[in-house]
């Protein structure tokens, strides 16, 4: 399990992470979402002991990363996409991780095959494509067969085939009872991948819920088209239902279709269209992080 409590990190005058708390549970894939610059990478780096937080704590299985007995076998992490010496072969890169953790070379070859780099393992990493580097980083994270995975944008640079493969891999890892925390700014990816989501913006928590809950929440909205858009909005407002104008004759209502229909009937307003919105994670994300992601 991963637990972040009241984490804060200040860089000079900028508060990159501000009193952030969330958990990632074993057996589940937790998507860690936020716009660029929201503090995702800073949080993940603090979690694995790569930076000193200003205050708060981030623990893995109840301990700080630096206190883990055998970090390579406990936590697998991807933090920088191209963190390889260009002159070193992919296989040798993995051996430099395996050696201090007393992991056999046979396991190195096993993970190379798992990420489909068995043939490229003997080549210097400077000749690797972005996707190959990403898969090599993933191989490094999986080397110690860890209970916890912390992956910063692991799908970057992967082709659709690779993303599907990654999704299946993370699913099977979580099904084994492992804790998987995956950051991403590509929402469709996470919607398919994650069980839970943690959404942050400007360094603060915006929402933590299961993907199912978030989608149910998003599904409560209604889209309605009426020639008397503004009168309908006012009528809905009087009953305490929020509505905002969208296109010329379209209103997006924060309430279910039945409520809108009843109000419209009572006020004798003509409706052309009444659609219960099947929201996407993206809608929720944009709504929740709106303002936060705009330059202020």
């Amino acid at each position: 399990m991963i637990e972040v409590s009241n984490l804060a990190k200040r860089y000079g005058r900028v508060l990159a992470v501000d009193d952030l708390s969330f958990r990632a549970e074993p057996g589940r894939v937790t998507g860690f979402l936020g716009p660029n610059g929201a503090g995702k990478t800073t949080t993940l780096r603090a979690l694995v002991g790569l930076l000193h937080q200003t205050s708060g704590s981030a623990t893995i299985l109840g301990r700080r990363y630096a206190e883990l007995d055998d970090p390579v076998r406990t936590v697998g992490a991807i933090l920088e996409t191209s963190a390889f010496h260009p002159g070193r072969t992919g296989r040798n890169h993995l051996r430099t991780i395996a050696r201090p953790a007393a992991i056999e070379d046979a396991r190195v070859d096993e993970v190379l095959a798992l990420v489909d780099l068995a043939d490229a393992g003997g080549r210097r990493t400077k000749g690797y494509s972005f996707g190959m580097k990403q898969r090599l980083a993933l191989a490094g994270a999986l080397l110690g067969d860890p209970q916890v995975l912390v992956l910063d944008e692991p799908a970057n640079g992967l082709d659709p085939h690779g993303i599907r493969w990654l999704r299946d891999l993370l699913r099977s890892l979580a099904d084994d009872g492992r804790t998987v925390l995956v950051s991403s700014h590509v929402l469709t990816e996470v919607a398919q991948l994650a069980d839970d989501v943690v959404i942050i913006a400007k360094g603060s928590l915006v929402a933590q819920a299961s993907v199912a809950e978030v989608l149910a929440e998003a599904g409560r909205g209604t889209r309605v088209r009426s020639p008397e858009r503004d009168r309908l909005a006012a009528a809905l407002g009087r009953t305490g239902v929020k509505a905002r104008p969208f296109e010329a004759d379209v209103l997006v209502v924060d309430g279910d279709a039945a409520t809108v229909g009843e109000v419209a009937a009572a006020e004798r307003i003509v409706l052309y269209e009444l659609v219960a919105q099947s929201g996407t994670l993206e809608d929720v994300f944009l709504e929740l992080t709106e303002g936060a992601s705009r330059p202020s």
């Binding site: 002991g49 990363y65 992490a77 920088e80 191209s82 963190a83 430099t96 007393a102």
Partner: protein, 248 residues
């Protein structure tokens, strides 16, 4: 020990050590040839050869600098700290790898130097026997190479930027120390006192291990070695502070 072994693996899996090793072999062979060929070798031939070979200690320092700064330059320091989050241990392993790698580089230089000089001297009827003096010269040379490499690693940990560390190192050794040495020797010679500053600067102390020209202090390997060890230990302590405090 596993960390040290990993450091050697990192060294072996790049071209850097091979290039530096070959360069130091070539340099020391060239200097040995020049020394023997010019007939300038006198009483203590082995020590003179060792002094010649110690030109290549600069390469050992570069090896040490690269051992640390390559990790920062290519971002592999992240992986290194994930594997061993106790950063002082990481630096300790790197310092040990630098000491041993530096000594190995020194051994290669010594062998190259002897391989050029011994047959040549023998042909002229002069001997280069592996006697006590020769062994002492070898020991001093290995110590000098080892300490220069460790100094480089410590400097690398303090500066972390590769260009910064290499430029800083050569500017200090070639410009700053020479300048201080020039000024202070002029100053103190004019009042008839021995120079109390320049022989004790880090570069002079490390060069003084094998011996060199200059004050009395420089002619003795022992005191210079102790001072050099103290400098390397001090810089290593600063390096430890730097890598613990400053996040990659």
């Amino acid at each position: 020990m596993r960390l040290l072994s990993a450091e050697f693996l990192k060294l072996r899996t790049t071209r850097v050590p091979a290039v530096l090793g070959v360069l130091s072999v070539l340099m020391s062979a060239l200097v040995a040839a020049a020394l023997v060929g010019s007939g300038s070798l006198e009483a203590d031939r082995a020590l003179a050869l060792a002094q010649g070979a110690s030109f290549a200690t600069m390469l050992a320092a570069v090896l040490g600098i690269l051992l640390v700064t390559n990790e920062y330059r290519h971002g592999t320091i992240t992986t290194t700290f994930l594997v061993e989050p106790r950063r002082p241990r990481v630096l300790a392993a790197k310092l040990a790898a630098a000491l041993l790698g530096g000594a190995a580089c020194g051994l290669a230089a010594a062998v190259a130097s002897a391989a050029v000089a011994a047959p040549w001297l023998a042909a002229r009827g002069e001997a280069l026997a592996p006697d006590g003096q020769a062994l002492e010269a070898l020991a001093r040379l290995l110590l000098a190479f080892a300490l220069w490499a460790a100094l480089g690693a410590a400097l690398g940990a303090i500066v972390q930027s590769q260009v910064g560390a290499i430029v800083g190192f050569f500017v200090w050794i070639l410009v700053v120390e020479s300048l201080i040495g020039l000024v202070s020797s002029l100053l103190f010679t004019s009042i008839g006192e021995p120079d109390p500053v320049s022989p004790y600067l880090p570069g002079s102390a490390l060069s003084g291990i094998v011996g060199g020209q200059g004050s009395e202090f420089m002619h003795r390997g022992g005191p210079a070695s102790l001072l050099a060890i103290a400098y390397v230990a001090g810089l290593s302590a600063l390096g430890t502070l730097a890598i613990v405090r400053r996040d990659p």
